[in-house]
């Protein structure tokens, strides 16, 4: 303790350089060690990844900057309604493990369009699938690069463009060099970094507020101030006092909560960058097991997030509500300069009024701050604050890399090898794969630097699209032997089109005079379902159309029906192959 008096303590900035630098060197080291030397290593890491490694990689792949930075913040403002993300983004793994992963592994190809193209014996089906895969992955990856930019700019004080370029170079290095193999093992390391970075501040704050070191239990415990009040009761009280909905009640309609949750679940199970991870394990039983491990590792973060949300929300209200503006803590001023907290003293009383009524409310808080500023609000040590930066970067980079791989394999494998030039040698295909990865990184970087104003909306669209297209086509392909190409193609096209039109109408107001009209259209929502939840309806449409069209067209050929029978049996997996 004497030392800390004599030596200047290390600042947040320095700690950030140290922790981010260390984690980046680790990723680069792993990338050099795990270079890919064949297309098989590039696409599916050679197909010999252990269930645990694959589970960790899947978890890191899945948990993006949005899960790490934004989710707890969203929940802390949405209260109960935040459950749609919690259940939606975890429940999908049950579908994945029970309905998709084992069979797709047995099928043993490289990509999702591979399955769609072969199972539905049709180039058209393959092309539709490639377009969906590219659309979903690009919208997703743009958001990730933006996340990388924000973390860099906020913690290292470089501008967002420089931040994005640094991030691009790192991803480029290990995705291009290592392909799936490099990505898998860096993701294992990134999982460790991100989960540690998320849990440490949560545990600290849980102990501070409730005396319970387990955040999952802490937010259901009594406050440690000796008042004997439960934390959640207190937050419910504070919320209603300020005119907000009771925290544990929420404000969305039941049917909308239902539809959004289902769309997110089904969308999760249909996302190509998640599905493709299950091609990398050795046997069918490993695919099942690693889905379980992945979900277990994801749930550690996902059950902590709602606790963080409650801690942060309570802390925020207690720190600022009705407090004099000139006495706010240092973090408030610091985040004010970034524009993520804004205060306008409407009634000139020098106090901060934070209330639900928009006319009287004087404080606007960006939801992303809740995780990033949480350690500062709770006055945690500098290294913990820096750790959050390293964790956010790990989350964003790991997801970006996984998506880039899907994009590059869609181009080099599904388009070039399977459609344009089937005679391409393994060596040239590997070069094509690497070049497409470079191209994909550049496009993603461009969107990261110049984000379209609708990134958040488009990410929701990505889930809707996956739910409306891939999920029914794959499930029917496995569980309904008689499903034919006519049915599947018609289903995918109708599903996607319905989703796109609903989105354009109710999210962007294209048909009613632009974004300003969107709020007024709420009354016209089908069954009261928001665009975020419409993936559920589009998916049902897909199922219905597929089955009806199938009834009127001819059954799939004998050999295709044999493929289906074969993928239902777990043994004789063989290795993932391009033939």
């Amino acid at each position: 303790m004497m030392n800390s008096v004599l030596i200047e303590p290390i600042g947040v900035q320095m700690w950030t350089y140290i922790l981010v630098g260390l984690s980046f060197s680790l990723y680069i080291g792993i990338a050099i060690w795990s270079r890919a030397s064949s297309t098989k290593e590039f696409y599916v890491a050679g197909g010999g990844v252990s269930p645990w490694a694959n589970g960790m990689a899947t978890a890191a792949d899945w948990m993006s900057a949005a899960s790490f930075i934004s989710m707890a913040g969203i929940i802390s403002f949405a209260g109960y309604d935040g459950a749609v993300y919690l259940m939606g983004w975890t429940g999908g793994y049950v579908l994945l493990a029970l309905l998709l992963a084992p069979y797709l592994r047995k099928f043993g190809k490289f990509t999702v369009p591979d399955f769609i193209g072969d199972r539905y014996y049709s180039k058209t089906a393959r092309i539709v699938a490639v377009i969906c895969a590219l659309l979903v992955s690009f919208t997703y990856v743009a958001g990730q690069m933006r996340g990388v930019g924000i973390v860099f700019s906020r913690f290292l004080e470089v501008d967002i463009t420089t931040g994005v370029i640094i991030g691009m170079l790192i991803v480029l290095f290990y995705a291009v060099l290592g392909g799936m193999k490099g990505i898998t093992y860096t993701q294992v390391a990134q999982y460790c970094v991100l989960i540690f970075a998320f849990m440490v501040p949560a545990i600290f704050i849980s102990i501070q507020m409730t005396g319970n070191p387990i955040p999952q239990l802490g937010f259901g415990s009594e406050l440690s101030d000796g008042s004997g009040t439960y934390l959640l009761d207190k937050l419910d009280g504070l919320s209603t006092e300020l005119g907000f909905a009771e925290y544990t009640e929420g404000s969305k309609s039941l049917i909308d909560v239902f539809a959004i949750t289902l769309a997110l679940m089904v969308g999760t199970a249909g996302l190509p960058h998640v599905i493709v991870r299950f091609f990398t394990v050795k046997r069918v039983k490993d695919a099942r097991k690693s889905a379980g491990i992945a979900l277990l590792l994801i749930v550690i973060l996902y059950t902590t997030a709602p606790a963080v949300a409650v801690f942060a929300r309570t802390n925020l209200i207690e720190t600022v509500s009705n407090k004099p503006y000139n006495k706010v803590p240092e973090w408030f001023k610091k985040w004010e300069t970034t524009g993520l907290i804004t205060f306008t003293d409407k009634n000139n009383d020098g106090l901060i009024q934070y209330v639900a009524n928009k006319e009287q409310n004087e404080l606007v808080v960006d939801r992303d701050i809740m995780v990033l500023a949480n350690p500062e609000i709770a006055k945690l040590p500098n290294w913990v604050i820096a750790l959050v930066a390293a964790g956010g970067l790990a989350a964003a980079l790991s997801t970006a890399a996984g998506l880039l791989l899907v994009i590059s394999s869609s181009v080099s494998h599904d388009l070039i090898k399977k459609i344009i030039n089937p005679k391409i040698s393994d060596k040239s295909e590997l070069i094509a794969a690497r070049l497409s990865a470079v191209g994909a990184v550049c496009v993603a970087g461009y969107f990261g630097i110049n984000p379209p104003g609708f990134v958040a909306a488009v990410v929701a669209l990505a889930f809707g699209l996956a739910a409306a297209s891939f999920f029914p086509a794959i499930v029917l392909g496995i569980f309904y032997k008689k499903m034919n190409k006519e049915g599947a193609i018609a289903g995918m096209i109708v599903g996607i089109t319905a989703m796109l039109l609903y989105m354009l109408k109710f999210k962007f107001g294209i048909f009613d005079g632009g974004k300003t009209a969107v709020a007024g259209l709420k009354g016209d929502w089908w069954f009261g379902i928001s665009p975020e939840g419409f993936g559920t309806i589009a998916m049902i449409l897909n199922f219905i159309v597929s089955i009806v069209i199938m009834k009127f067209t001819k059954a799939p050929p004998k050999d295709v029906q044999e493929i289906v029978e074969n993928i239902r049996i777990p043994s004789g997996t063989g290795e993932a192959s391009s033939h």
Binding site: Y80, M87, T90, Y230, T248, L254, K285, R288, G292
Partner: protein, 85 residues
């Protein structure tokens, strides 16, 4: 039993497991966490209203358990039908 009959019987049992597990999947999330949330919220365990707890905690724990139960059931089934490897 012929190969084909064996495969059919295996598939039938698999479907039975899947339907059973998906029923639980539906009941904890859409049932306890959404549809019956208000009724369950009248019950309190510690500081948690039960419906809220299912929506933000409980359903996720059950999801994890469901997958591992499926893994165990299927590993046994693979052995029973000689598909283990």
């Amino acid at each position: 039993m012929s190969n084909q009959q064996n495969a059919k019987a295996y598939w039938k049992e698999n479907i039975k497991y899947v339907l059973f597990l998906l029923t639980i999947w539906f009941l904890v999330s859409y049932g306890a966490g959404i549809i019956f949330k208000d009724a369950l919220n009248t019950i309190k365990i510690g500081g948690f209203k039960l419906g809220f707890w299912f929506a933000q905690q409980g359903s996720m724990y059950v999801f994890v358990i469901l997958i591992f139960v499926y893994v165990r059931l299927m590993n046994k089934l693979d052995k029973k039908y000689g598909y283990d490897e």
